[in-house]
């Protein structure tokens, strides 16, 4: 079962991450003129670090929460040169991140959709794929 739906679940977590990051980026864009505002960023740690997993001795064992636990890291951005009002948001940087994040989201969504299509094809005995 894990093999069948595993990549859909991985896709779901990736979509969740990109959506949360979009919220952080939206907050940066909304506060582009708020004095003293420091932009934030949401980084993603590598999926399921081996050290965080429970050791398994059988392939049917579950790796525990470490395998797919929270792997997103909030970060306050280091601002090199804030404006006169102490605002560190660079509109160009934020908007290019918005575009990149958007494209990644669309790509992963397409991937999940294709995977579901393959499962449907298999579930229909290869008919009407």
């Amino acid at each position: 079962m894990v093999a069948m739906f595993g990549s859909i679940d991985l896709g779901r977590r990736t979509l969740d991450y990109h959506l949360e990051r979009h919220n952080v980026l939206a907050s940066n864009v909304a506060n582009v003129e708020t004095p003293g505002f420091t932009p934030h960023e949401l980084l993603r740690a590598p999926e399921g670090p081996e050290a965080a997993r429970l050791r398994t001795t059988d392939e049917r064992h579950l790796g525990g929460p470490g395998a797919n636990g929270p792997t997103w890291i909030d970060e306050t951005e280091l601002v090199v040169s804030p404006g006169n009002d102490g605002n560190g948001v660079s509109m160009e940087r934020e908007l290019s991140r918005v575009s990149a994040n958007h494209l990644r989201y669309e790509g992963v969504a397409r991937l999940v959709q294709m995977h579901i299509g393959v499962l449907r094809y298999a579930a229909n005995d290869g008919q009407g794929g």
Binding site: H22, A30, N31, E33, T34, T76, E94, Y105
Partner: protein
């Protein structure tokens, strides 16, 4: 459990758009009254500036259970403050609002400053619009999963 999603991203973007619109309204008011020498409070018109403040999304959107919500902020305009710097004195004894020495205090509005602010407000508003477009397209592609 409420978490950050499409709706919260839209709310955050909308707060930015609203703040910029408030700013454009104050700029329009300043430009319209660039030569107003008589007001209800007496004296010439004084330019106004909105005050922007970042408010944690967990306070407004009910997304407190999301651990990442503490790094997400809406923008609010808690007040529109009056700029109290005195305006320039212009010598015009025939003006009805001239003082006994013949000087009229003009509003402290600089048309150049207001126009520069108008350009940055417009740019920030446009950035908000493209953010909103991006969120909407993303939501649409999420809805098409499984169809």
């Amino acid at each position: 459990m409420t978490t950050l999603g499409f709706m919260s991203a839209m709310e955050i973007t909308a707060s930015g758009l609203t703040a910029e619109r408030v700013r454009m309204n104050t700029l329009a008011s300043n430009l319209a009254n660039a030569r107003t020498t008589r007001t209800e409070e007496g004296g010439p018109y004084r330019r106004t500036d909105p005050v922007f403040r970042a408010v944690a999304a967990s306070e407004r959107l009910g997304v407190g259970s999301d651990p990442h919500a503490r790094n997400v902020f809406l923008v609010e305009v808690p007040e529109v403050r009056q700029d109290t710097t005195p305006g320039p004195l212009v010598y015009d004894p025939s003006h009805p609002d001239a003082n006994p020495e013949g000087y009229v205090e003009m509003p402290n509005v600089s048309v150049v400053t207001e126009m520069v602010n108008l350009v940055t407000a417009t740019r920030a508003y446009e950035a908000g619009i493209s953010m909103m477009d991006s969120v909407k397209t993303m939501a649409r592609s999420a809805l098409s999963i499984g169809s």
